[in-house]
Symmetry: C2
Subunit: 260 residues, 2 copies
């Protein structure tokens, strides 16, 4: 019997902007230094898909690349589907790490709720796999990712070395260029902000109304402990995230309602 | 100046099974006793849509009914879109209460993460509106809702009377018939269970693989404090839910990683 100290970790990579996104390519290039990389990404952009899963149509997976240290697949599913397919259909087991992103646009604060990038991470976390989501606070398709390497590397390295407690994953957001020099990394809590909807209502050529969802970000939670403060002040934010949505502080209060 | 003690609350009703679902019709019939009801539901079933929003296509709203105490609209959006459209396009302000469901199928335990029903509730909660999601633990389209009235009424009445703390909403699950007589209502925490995926993989007539997402529910969290225990033992479960996903217990631990 020999030890096998040089076995490299298997890292599953996905995102919600689609397989062609610059942020995904950047993330792949960084994590290939750490292990065997298996990419399962969507054919289409799935921004704003939240934790959606595909149950009404069948899923299909196409092989794009299959090398000893690198495999790439595209599918017709959501980011959560990508993780499920990656585990069950592609790998046939659990990877050592799941990374998602790098998202084009912030997933800090309330954005975590709507984010397909973070839904993939939470899905891996439910399955007991250490997982990290990375986002750059720049929505442009041509966003500049040239400054992100050292932050992504530290986080990937930190998670591979320290692990994460069962039920906890990480939401990492990086300020956009030209916010350099970035001051460093801050571990934070999720800011309690929200989007205020402002539908852009129009009429089609037949005179029928239609509505485009738009909105503006409104943040009254200005604490220095929040991810939004960190980003606004030139720091990379790291929020440990869990999927137990129980508001424990309200349990005793609702018990007093005397429901029966 | 006169007091207006008799103004009835405005209640926005939505769901994720579509406007034609029996569970929605049941919920409407119950909440009409409590106030003016405005229904905004999807044209299609949106089960498993999680917190998805529609940003790549425009939204359309059609008027089905418009009476003094009752309005009904259908739209082409997700459950979260229904809430946003209800507030901004239909009402032009905030309703006094949002109720969602009654879902055909459990949203207890980890199902809350995938649930369109609960995403609509959480969206309302983000907007500062008291909100409750109702689900019956029976996935059938023909599910029997005849035993739910007294539980829905108690919860709607309790929320209208007591309010809910900002940032907290309710996830209510009801055992299916024939689990009667139901023993009562229990206020619980979310059980830490998960779905184990089991893709049903097939070949189409052209010989190309495709995969149907299926799975089985696996629960190792057997505490009597959980929603799953309550349901398994004949109780209606009520879990207070919030949208702050921060895993506070991990903040100090990750700070020790010395990220910079």
């Amino acid at each position: 019997m020999t030890n096998q100290p040089n076995i490299r970790p298997t890292i599953l990579v996905t995102n919600d902007d689609g397989y062609y996104a610059g942020g995904l390519r950047k993330l792949i290039s960084i994590v290939r230094k750490f292990g065997k990389v298996i990419v399962v990404a969507g054919e289409q952009s799935m921004s704003g898909m939240g934790h959606a899963i595909t149950i009404k149509t069948p899923l299909r997976v196409k092989t794009v690349a299959k090398e000893p240290d690198y495999e790439e697949y595209i599918c017709n599913g959501t980011p959560v589907d990508c993780v499920k397919l990656g585990e069950q259909v592609v790998i046939g087991g659990k990877p050592d790490l799941v990374v998602s992103g790098i998202n084009h646009g912030s997933n800090a604060s309330i954005n975590v709720i709507y984010s397909g990038t973070m839904a993939a991470v939470i899905e891996a976390c439910i399955d007991g796999i250490p997982a990290v989501g990375f986002s750059l606070c720049d929505y442009s398709h041509k966003a500049d990712f040239s400054h992100v390497d050292r932050f992504v590397e530290q986080l990937v390295s930190g998670v591979l070395k320290n692990g994460l407690k069962q039920g906890v994953c990480l939401n990492v957001n990086i300020p956009p260029l030209p916010s350099v020099p970035i001051k460093g990394i801050r571990v934070c809590r999720q800011a309690n902000a929200r989007w205020v909807e402002e539908f852009d209502s129009r009429q089609d050529p037949r005179g029928v109304d239609y509505h485009w969802l738009t909105g503006r970000f409104e943040n009254d939670d200005l604490s220095e402990e929040t991810d939004q403060w960190a980003l606004d002040n030139g720091y990379v934010s790291v929020v440990p995230v869990h999927y137990d949505l129980t508001a424990y502080s309200m349990i005793d209060e609702i018990k007093k309602w005397n429901l029966k």
